[in-house]
Amino acid sequence: MIQKLRDRLPAMGWLQPVLGALALVAVWAFVNLVEMVDPVLLPSPKQSWAAFVEGMTEGTLGHDFLRTIIRTMSAFAVATVIAVPMGVALGSSSRLYRSVEFLIDFFRSTPASAMFPLFLVFFGIGEEAKIAVAAFGAALIILFNTAYGVMNARQLRQLAAQVMGASRARILWDVTVWESLPQTFIGLRSGVSMALVIVIVAEMFIGSTDGLGKRIIDAQMIFNMPDMYASIFAAGALGYLMNLLFTLLETRFVHWGGK
């Protein structure tokens, strides 16, 4: 019996990622059931799920979802294109990094919502401002991680490349980038979550006609809690999926990790 279960366990690998979600829903259902919290404030998972399904099928949740995805992806793409090469470049000289570290740590520690006015000034009130501020926030964290990946990379392989005649740029590209890849992936995952968070906050507070953030704040305003939690759930699940994508990419590309 136990033997059989053991044999099956590896096959149930797909269940693992779901466990966390199940636990969350279970706790939620429990809290709701024993009315630890007023049901007006925290609806049951079932109500929220109903709101989610209804929003997706009949309502505009699908549309809002899509808009948020597009914004997040645009912001993240911009951030990656700028921040990864910059991170590699800055990280390759710790002197250089030290001189810009103030800026990076400064802006990393400043809330995006405090930056909204400034971005509105430069990018106008349209879509660009939202994408720009999210890209900025994501770029900072990607840059930070990539640069530290490069700075903490082991020396020997870079020296080996140097002896073989690789130029500084080549070493960076052929060796350092690879060495720092695990850290860069962590940066990218932090970055994509950050982009999503800022896009949602921007949708909440910088005028917007659609998107999950707008949906969340509207639902909150009219105290439509099932809809609010449905939207939050959609946002979180989106974040998980985007992270999952990178986890898959990483296991594919960084096969030597830990060896």
Partner: protein
């Protein structure tokens, strides 16, 4: 380039300020006389300290062109450090390293690291690790392939080169490391205990192979080995180092004809060189 038309050029690395100072002060100036033809690498006034331990102080050395010099010295005397400084990947505090008309960076260097396990690129398959340095030789794709073909044919290895380095055994990794150093037909070859992880058969094979290549191509080579038989068998000259602060204890030439093999090791000349080397080494190591 023949040894004779070699231009004399000062190449300084390390802390540029201090190195420059040294060269200019005139203090060491007379040392930079024209040196014997046939010298490839010249080291003058080299100083290297780690924290407050002095490893090299005012160290001079000439390495002849196209010859194999075996370095023999106790653990921690600074053999790896020396090679690293010569090959330009480690800074030094003062001194000059002259590469006979070229800088280390302009020279085609092959280097088998003592730490062969970490020197490979784990994101490249073994074969691509070997191919990698060819990138810098301005060869066409076809020429590159030809080189690899030739190398593989002459090594006739039984390893699956489509594996990643971390999937190889220690000895296999070291073999890949050696092949990577040789594939470029280097002008200068640094071998830091290159056979330490290879099996009996492979070691013998590579000793022969290396001799053939090095004498045919006239590669200036520096070999570190703790196996005295090996060191002497491969050497044109055995360089004995003292404990730190490191200096040259003796240089013993060995001119036996090549190719050398097991038979060489029983010739009186070989035994003589070996015995003398051992005496000096042990005297130096046992110095208080």
């Amino acid at each position: 380039m023949s040894p004779d038309d070699s231009a004399l050029r000062l190449v300084s690395a390390g802390n540029p300020a201090e190195a420059g100072d040294h060269a200019d002060t005139g203090d060491h100036a007379e040392r930079f006389r024209w040196f014997a033809p046939g010298t490839h690498i010249t080291i003058r006034g080299l100083t290297k300290t780690f924290g407050d331990t002095v490893l090299y102080e005012d160290f001079d050395l000439d390495l002849p062109r196209g010859k194999v010099v075996s370095i023999f010295g106790p653990n921690g005397c600074g053999k790896s450090t020396l090679i690293n400084m010569i090959s330009g990947i480690m800074d030094y505090d003062a001194g000059t390293i002259l590469f006979d008309g070229k800088t280390a960076r302009e020279t085609k260097i092959g280097y088998v690291f003592q730490n062969y396990r970490e020197a490979g690129f784990p994101w490249l398959r073994a074969i691509d690790n070997i191919r990698y340095p060819l990138k810098f030789l301005r060869l066409t794709k076809a020429e590159q392939d030809a080189r690899i073909e030739k190398l593989l044919a002459s090594f006739n290895v039984s390893i699956d080169l489509n594996r990643y380095p971390y999937e190889l055994s220690g000895g296999q990794q070291q073999l890949v490391s050696i092949m990577r150093a040789l594939v470029i037909d280097p002008e200068v070859l640094f071998l830091d205990e290159p056979f330490s992880a290879l099996d009996y058969e492979m070691t013998l094979f590579l000793r022969d192979k290396l001799q053939a290549v090095l004498t045919e191509m006239q590669v200036t080579s520096l070999l570190v080995s703790h196996d005295l038989d090996e060191a002497v068998e491969l050497a044109d000259e055995v360089l004995l180092l003292t404990r730190k602060p490191t200096s040259v204890a003796a240089r013993i030439p060995f001119d036996a004809p090549r190719p050398r093999n097991a038979e060489t090791t029983v010739t009186p000349e070989f035994i003589d060189v070996k015995t003398r080397s051992l005496e000096i080494f042990q005297r130096e190591v046992r110095k208080p």
